[in-house]
């Protein structure tokens, strides 16, 4: 495993509708603000293990960890622009995706 540099959250896509999901305290969330944050390598592998089980249970697909930074309000924001996009929706259509329903 790569060296642990940043806190991480677990992303996935919902099997039934393809929407981006975040693993939260009590299961999958549609709002990244509710994502559970892994603060060390051990916590990160626990998230990953949970993700693998969820893939096996056919609830989600495309599961992976993303580096985040934690804002003053405690909300994790991805560091990479790709996942920054995924937590909101297309930057060219603010009426679509999570940002449309005030989720981001």
């Amino acid at each position: 495993m790569a060296a642990f540099k940043h806190p991480q959250i677990l992303l996935a896509s919902s099997l039934a509708d393809g929407e981006v999901l975040f693993l939260g305290a009590a299961g999958w969330e549609r709002d990244h603000a509710k994502a559970r944050v892994a603060r060390d390598a051990g916590e990160a592998s626990a998230l990953e293990a949970f993700g693998k089980a969820e893939i096996a249970a056919n609830r989600v697909v495309d599961v992976y960890l993303a580096d985040v930074e934690i804002g003053a309000d405690g909300v994790p924001t991805p560091l990479h622009y790709r996942e920054k996009m995924r937590i909101k929706g297309p930057s060219v259509r603010l009426d679509l995706g999570k940002q449309a329903s005030g989720g981001a």
């Binding site: 039934a16 509708d17 056919n58 697909v61 622009y81 996009m85 930057s91 060219v92 679509l96």
Partner: protein, 573 residues
């Protein structure tokens, strides 16, 4: 069923598109039922994603950045008003009220739910549409000139050939699991509007000295991470030999094409590594040795297909419309539209209209469901109920009476569809990029929007003249950036979106892959750089020269030099 079966369409809208026979209809219906069952098993947990993925891809369903994406085939870009309306209905019922038209003459929905896709496919099947072979390592949707059947420079309508190839390649057992996807394009005109030289196989209809129509065959073109212009493999293949000859090419590719590395599995790599002469020799040997009879080219079958594409019942009209002339004078905005978006037609008194899906600041290729319905209505009122999708991501109305152009323009204008920029700087091809695509390394749509806003003044665009800007959000080159007169490729550099610019690309018979201008620039800098390039061209061009002609005459180095010097002043390239 016949080509002009009026029970299937509105009485005022004769259709000149291919109609499924009972076999086609049953086949597509069976595929939908099969997929419905696969989706059910997937959702019930009986299939894993690894098991399911090939099934969904066989039906054009991808998983993207925010949602699933469904790619619907529009064979050779031709569709009827009824089909366009159905696309609009699906957008409303199962998606977010819009669709995205692509460079491969397909339509992509960006938000379908997995659970709904069988219903969507069923809705498509009812109007003779599907998503078969829009993905996967098979022969993809065959594309063709969007002016097919109406262009004055045409030798023959390429669509019967394209349809013939579609029937040959659909569910072809030997070619359903090729080393990689395979793309064929056909043009029947003197001017190539189908980009045949950047396809795996490009076919150009030609007439030989004896007056017979046959095919010039190009092979090994393609974009992506290693762009190549196709090479001529045979100057003339008689129609009766076409399928056998293509089979011979496919067999050679299947036998010698690399499978060790998916990036090297395209026929372009084979042609590049072995050389066109060696590939030709192998193909000719295969062709000479094979039992051609089994590729039962049946002239009667070709004629049957061709009958679907016979011209609609045009009226006998004078070549030039007095009404049009007067309206152009009275309404300058309409006059500009005619000058830029209207092309000459084979039939006297008619015209071909390009409806731009590139409003200034808009998303290239997107159409709302309301706009799709306007286009469907317009095609019925003014164009025999037929529409085309161009590889430039625009919609074409191929048979409009010159007398009707003004009324059509008013209708389009009211729907935000009358932007007079076909072929100009803001008629930008752009892939979805990081706003939708999971493979993207950078965004491409906002770059297109920024450039088109920078050049918002349409009269300035007309002064600049024909100039193709093409943008891709990663090296896969869906946005055709390699063959853009100005090409833009979005990459990631040190965790930031970065854009590489190339000049001199050309998708036509004189095909050329663009040359790199310099190191990448940031998103903010792109419009400035483009403006510098355009200004330099305007300063250097000679009377009547297009951008690409000036670039060819004075050379890439001059452009590079100027940009480098500009860079010292802050343009950053």
């Amino acid at each position: 069923m016949t080509a002009h079966d009026t029970t299937l369409t509105r009485p005022n809208a004769p259709v000149t598109t291919y109609r499924y026979d009972d076999f086609d209809a049953a086949f597509v219906k069976e595929r939908v039922a099969e997929f419905r069952e696969q989706v059910r098993r997937r959702l019930a947990g009986n299939l894993t994603e690894d098991e399911f993925r090939p099934f969904r891809l066989m039906n054009g369903l991808y998983l993207q950045l925010h949602a699933y994406m469904l790619r619907v085939a529009i064979p050779y870009g031709t569709l009827s008003a009824r089909q366009m309306r159905r696309l609009a209905d699906i957008a409303d019922k199962y998606d977010r009220g819009y669709g995205h038209f692509t460079t491969r003459q397909n339509l992509q929905y960006n938000w379908p739910k997995l659970v709904d896709t069988p219903d969507i496919l069923e809705a498509l099947a009812e109007v003779e549409m599907h998503a078969i072979q829009t993905s996967g390592n098979c022969i993809r949707n065959v594309t063709a000139d969007h002016f097919a059947g109406v262009a004055p420079d045409e030798i023959e309508d390429p669509r019967p050939t394209a349809e013939f190839l579609r029937q040959w390649s659909s569910a072809h057992p030997e070619f359903s699991f090729l080393p990689r996807k395979f793309k064929i394009a056909v043009t029947g005109a003197a001017h190539d509007r189908a980009a045949v030289k950047v396809h795996d196989i490009g076919l150009a209809l030609v007439k030989n000295d004896a007056g017979e129509i046959g095919y010039q065959v190009y092979v090994g073109g393609g974009l992506g991470r290693t762009p190549f212009v196709a090479k001529l493999i045979r100057d003339f293949v008689a129609r009766a030999d076409l399928l056998a000859y293509l089979e011979a090419i496919m067999r050679v590719y299947n036998r010698f094409g690399r499978r060790d590395n998916k990036y090297k599995a395209r026929i372009k790599i084979l042609v590049h590594e072995k050389g066109i002469d060696a590939v030709r020799e192998a193909v000719e040997a295969e062709f000479a040795g094979m039992d051609r009879a089994v590729f039962s080219y049946d002239p009667a079958e070709f004629e049957r297909i061709a009958a679907y594409f016979t011209p609609p019942p045009y009226e006998a009209l004078p070549a030039d419309s007095e009404k049009l002339r007067a309206a152009r004078v009275a309404h300058p905005a309409f006059g500009n539209f005619v000058e830029v978006n209207v092309a000459p037609h084979k039939a006297p008194g008619y015209a071909i209209v390009t409806v731009s899906l590139k409003p200034v600041g808009g998303i290239p290729g997107d159409a709302t469901s309301a706009q799709m319905r306007v286009l469907a209505d317009a095609s019925e009122r003014f164009g025999f109920g037929e529409l085309r999708i161009s590889h430039e991501q625009n919609v074409i109305l191929p048979h409009v009476k010159q007398d009707d152009l003004f009324d059509l323009w008013k209708l389009l204008d009211a729907a935000g569809l009358a932007t007079a920029n076909a072929g100009l700087v803001s008629d930008i091809i752009s892939c979805p990029g990081l706003d939708y695509c999971s493979l993207a390394t950078a965004r491409s749509i906002p770059i297109a929007q920024a450039i088109s806003k920078r050049f918002a003044d349409l009269s300035r665009q007309r002064r600049i003249g024909k100039l193709g800007i093409k943008i891709s959000g990663c090296i896969n080159a869906c946005g055709h950036h390699h063959v853009g007169a100005i090409g833009i490729l979005g990459l990631e550099k040190k965790g930031q979106e970065s854009y590489q610019i190339t000049l001199g690309g050309d998708p036509t018979f004189s095909a050329n892959v663009g040359e790199l201008l310099g190191p990448g620039v940031t998103a903010e800098q792109v419009p400035d750089v483009i403006e510098h390039i355009v200004d330099f061209y305007l300063a250097e061009r000679q009377e009547g020269e297009s951008f690409i002609e000036t670039w060819r005459r004075i050379g890439h180095a001059r452009f590079k030099d100027v940009l480098r010097r500009e860079g010292e002043d802050g343009a950053g390239i």
